[in-house]
């Protein structure tokens, strides 16, 4: 025990008083790092990082220097408007995400006024006495005062992934580096073994982590959706560069002025790039995340939402998803089958739960205490003194303690039956000690029959030990098996319904459990979940990765598997082309949570799991999950609509503008007119994230298919070009606007037609059904689209229109326009019928 440490840090073994803690909180502030804090300035600066703005600013400079200054002013105004739009939407989205993050807090077990309780770790202050356990993320910099087998992963802090042993002894070092301070725990490091207690030395920005400003967040692999967007971006950039260079060269070659040609080709480039796509995606995701939060699904990483919707395999554990997750001790039985109080007392002694006003700890240890308190069976514990503890780990699957009763020192072990059996030499059969080998068959039979009834079983064993200063894993040998602790965890009533719903949604559920295969199988049978094949961890160990890839397709249950095997299963499923979700709440689940396309955890999970997860469920419920998947699919659907819109109508328009510039004696549209149309088009798309999505679209998971988008562009792009050419024909040969003097009339005619077709086509593209009749668009989308169309229609008659170089159009034009656009929309709808007959999505 380090003497004087408490005094030096202004605290005591009872911790701070609540009053003192509140006083210190006012002095030191909240214990949090500014890693997730966003500022308005950051969001504003981000708007200018878009390369499109560089092109636009170049256009403004070129126009201002060599062409008309009004053109330059208009372009600059459009830049300002785009920045305001992007800033407003992204800032709103950031605020939503920030608020959601607050729902997932990291807790710390703190002792104040002599009582242990769990508090939000941001309320910790210097001097607080904090207990840490396996799986915890150390919440502040702390001087260790109690340590038992403490090992910490300091990779986020030092980059070194090898576990570091921590002690509570005083160190005699001059000017030590943080790495040398083995009696300190540093904020952000992860407890991987043992337990301990420490006094908070510094919090928030004053911690070592705060000083070096490193983020705690590990990099997640790129999601399927991100990969898709990237390949889409590459496709667009290639098209844009090719078209821009082509237009500039041809226009210059045929004698159009150099500056006009340059500005025109740059404007086409701007028109082709969906510059508001990042904002549209962010708004979609943030709004979706907000809706998902109402369904108790908290999204930590926005970009994972789309993969969440497209996930086709969900790997889940059993506890809390298929079962109620309310583990209760049913009985403590000797090997003869009688209820035995000695086993209960041993399990109370060999227990990691913290008993205070509320019992806190792992569910099984907590269940033992709750059972004992309810049956008033905890009194016996007081006659023992706890001497030492050998903490639980996932390799041994055993926890042990050494206790003293009178003068006898006893080692008690509790853990997975197979692991305990391996450490036993004898068995206590109703007070008679027998060699384990003689009764092993009968014990196994009892264990299997209890497992087949769906009970979760722990075994308890003990032996007398000699007096020593410290005990280790080596002492867990030659034990006497006492009996079993039998736990119940009833299947959830709605689990069957939830699994069926997921199945209907095209999501295959696989169960990954640390329990034995019999328990898992029984739970599945009770829930009427069809089990195709059960694979045990021991079987997986013998398999190559290719064999695992085959087996993951066939098996429903993976039992008794290790954390590494969970990771292998994730990798194999991903290698087979699945989008994989994984629900985990244990310390051993973190690697698989990082590896899965969508890592899901629960609010009650250990810190590392919550930190690793993309999505945190406030309720561990598969039905909640199904609602979240549905939401993810809607968001994906609306994002795809924007992409399809952009690649078909927008691309078609820009292509026809480029082609027309070749044979017309004037530019078909001025650069500032193209840019203005582009801005108006983007505004009309702002309501797309709120659009309704057809029922059949969310029935099955979808993938971001760049091949499909390419085909869609090739097929639907020319429709819009075709009608642009038709408008050229009408303007040139019906209204005679074929001379440079009548160019404003020509441009106005084409602007209005082009804008109508470009914007109104969303009502056809957004659904595979009959637009409006069997699939209603969202009211905001309808309202905004029609408002933009109305604005675009009256523009040539306004002062702004004159300023932009437009001229009023003859009345006859409007009749032809109406008929032509109607034909266009019917033709696209007919094309849609033809297209979807041959191209599936």
């Amino acid at each position: 025990m380090p003497t004087g440490v408490y005094q030096t840090l202004g605290t005591s073994e009872n911790g701070l008083s609540e009053t003192e803690a509140n006083r210190r909180l006012k002095v030191h502030g909240y214990n949090e790092l500014p890693t997730h804090v966003f500022s308005k300035l950051q969001v504003l600066i981000r708007q200018f990082k878009n390369p499109i703005f560089a092109i636009l600013i170049a256009c403004a400079i070129i126009a201002g220097t060599y062409s008309e200054p009004t053109q330059s002013i208009i372009i600059l105004s459009m830049i300002a408007l785009s920045v305001i739009l992007g800033f407003y939407n992204e800032y709103q989205a950031e605020r939503i995400v920030e608020n959601l993050r607050k729902n997932v807090s990291i807790k710390a077990v703190v002792t104040r006024d002599g009582k242990s309780s769990q508090i939000d770790s941001k309320l910790l202050v210097p001097g607080d006495l904090v207990s840490v356990y396996v799986g915890d993320i150390v919440p502040a910099d702390m001087r260790i005062v109690k340590s038992k087998g403490l090992q910490v992963d300091e990779a986020t802090f030092t980059g070194e992934s090898f576990p570091v042993e921590k002690i509570s002894d005083r160190l005699n070092l001059e000017r030590p580096t943080p790495q040398q301070l083995t009696n300190y725990l540093f904020m952000g490091t992860v407890m991987i073994h043992g337990s301990g207690q420490g006094i908070v030395v510094s919090t928030g920005k004053k911690t070592e982590l705060g000083a070096i400003s490193k983020s705690l967040v590990r990099t997640h692999p790129e999601t399927e959706f991100q990969k898709g967007i990237k390949s889409y971006g590459t496709m667009l950039v290639t098209l844009t560069i090719a078209l821009t260079i082509g237009i500039f060269s041809i226009n210059t070659a045929i004698g159009h002025p150099l500056i006009d040609s340059l500005l025109f080709s740059l404007a086409i480039a701007v028109g082709l790039v969906p510059e508001l796509m990042p904002a549209i995606i962010t708004i979609s995701l943030a709004r979706g995340a907000s809706r998902m939060a109402n369904a108790k699904v908290i999204v930590k990483r926005l970009v994972s939402i789309e993969d969440f919707g497209n996930m086709d395999v969900l790997c889940t554990d059993k506890t809390g998803t298929l079962t109620e997750g309310k583990i209760a001790l049913h009985d403590s039985q000797s090997l003869g089958g009688e209820t035995n109080d000695k086993i209960l007392t041993c399990s109370l002694l060999c227990n990691s739960a913290a008993v205070g006003e509320k019992t806190v700890g792992n569910p099984m240890d907590t269940a033992i205490w709750e059972y004992a308190i309810k049956n008033d069976a905890q009194e016996d514990v007081k006659s023992y003194d706890k001497i030492d503890e050998i903490p639980f780990d996932y390799q041994r699957r055993i926890m042990s303690v050494v206790v003293r009763k009178n003068e006898e020192y006893i080692l008690i072990s509790k853990g997975a039956p197979e692991s305990i059996f391996a450490k036993c030499g004898r068995a206590d059969i109703s007070g008679r000690t027998e060699p384990l080998s003689a009764v092993r068959k009968a014990i196994n039979a009892k264990f299997f029959s209890l497992s087949e009834l769906g009970y979760r079983i722990l075994a308890v064993a003990c032996r007398s030990v000699e007096v020593k200063n410290s005990y280790s894993v080596e002492d867990e040998a030659d034990l006497t098996l006492l009996g079993f602790l039998i736990f119940t965890d009833p299947p959830k009533n709605d689990a069957h319904q939830a699994i069926n719903r997921l199945k209907e949604m095209g999501v295959d559920v696989k169960i990954l459990t640390g329990d034995n295969e019999l328990v898992a199988k029984t739970v599945c049978e009770e829930l009427k979940v069809p089990v195709k094949r059960i694979v045990c961890g021991a079987d997986l160990m013998q398999m190559s990765f290719t064999e695992i890839k085959t087996v993951v397709e066939e098996a429903t249950i993976f039992a008794r598997i290790t954390p590494e095997q969970k990771l292998d299963i994730m990798k194999a499923l991903k290698a087979n082309g699945h989008v994989v979700g994984f629900i985990g709440d244990g310390v051993n689940d973190a690697p698989a949570l990082y590896e899965a396309d969508v890592g899901l955890s629960v609010d009650t999970a250990v810190d590392v799991s919550k930190e690793a997860a993309d999505i945190v469920l406030l309720e561990k419920d598969l039905l909640v999950l199904a609602d979240g998947i549905n939401e993810g699919r809607k968001i994906f659907g609306n994002t795809i609509k924007y992409i399809l819109m952009g690649t078909s109508s927008n691309f078609g328009n820009m292509f026809s503008a480029a082609a027309a510039s070749v044979f017309l004696p004037f530019l078909p549209m001025l650069p500032m007119q193209i840019l203005f149309m582009n801005l108006l088009y983007d505004i009309s798309n702002m309501a797309l994230p709120t659009d309704n999505v057809d029922e059949e679209y969310v029935k099955k998971p979808k993938r971001f298919d760049i091949g499909f988008i390419r085909k869609y562009t090739l097929f639907f792009g020319p429709f819009s070009s075709l009608y642009d050419f038709l408008t050229y024909g009408i303007m040139l040969f019906i209204f005679g606007a074929s001379t440079p003097a009548l160019a404003p009339v020509f441009r106005s005619g084409w602007f209005v037609e082009s804008f109508w077709t470009e914007v109104l086509v969303i009502f056809v593209i957004r659904t595979r059904r009959i637009p409006f009749f069997t699939s209603r668009p969202g009211k905001w989308l309808t309202l905004l689209t029609l408002s933009c169309v109305a604005f675009g229609t009256i523009l040539p008659f306004t002062i702004l229109g004159g300023f932009l170089g437009f001229a009023p159009l003859p009345p006859e034009y409007w009749v032809l326009l109406f008929l032509m656009v109607a034909t266009y929309l019917f033709l696209v709808d007919a094309g849609k019928v033809f297209f979807y007959k041959i191209c599936k999505f």
Partner: protein
């Protein structure tokens, strides 16, 4: 009504024809790739009549193109408007028939 500038008209007619033909070729290409995929999995037994039916959309498209070129050449907005109404009626008939087939298949 004045006759259009022949060079400009030729440019225009070539451009719109090229656009329509491109669209028709894309349609045929997409259809052919799907058909060859289905043939591999023995899902297709279409005859020439069936093929003609499948491509009705392409025929409609080419028909519209011819109609547009002729009316623009004439330069009459009245004929253009009337023709458009006729085309819309044809497209609605096509859509009604195909939507019905689609819902029956579902």
């Amino acid at each position: 009504m004045s006759l259009p500038d022949p060079i400009l008209f030729a440019w225009w007619a070539s451009s719109i024809s090229a656009g329509s033909l491109f669209l028709a070729i894309v349609g045929i290409y997409l259809y052919a790739t799907t058909r060859s995929r289905r043939r591999k999995s023995n899902q297709t037994t279409k005859n020439v009549g069936g093929l003609f039916k499948d491509f009705i959309f392409v025929w409609v498209l080419l028909g519209i193109l011819v109609f547009y070129i002729i009316t623009i050449n004439i330069g009459s907005s009245l004929i253009f408007a009337a023709g458009n109404i006729l085309v819309e009626a044809l497209l609605i008939a096509y859509l009604l028939k195909n939507r019905k087939e689609e819902s029956e298949e579902r």
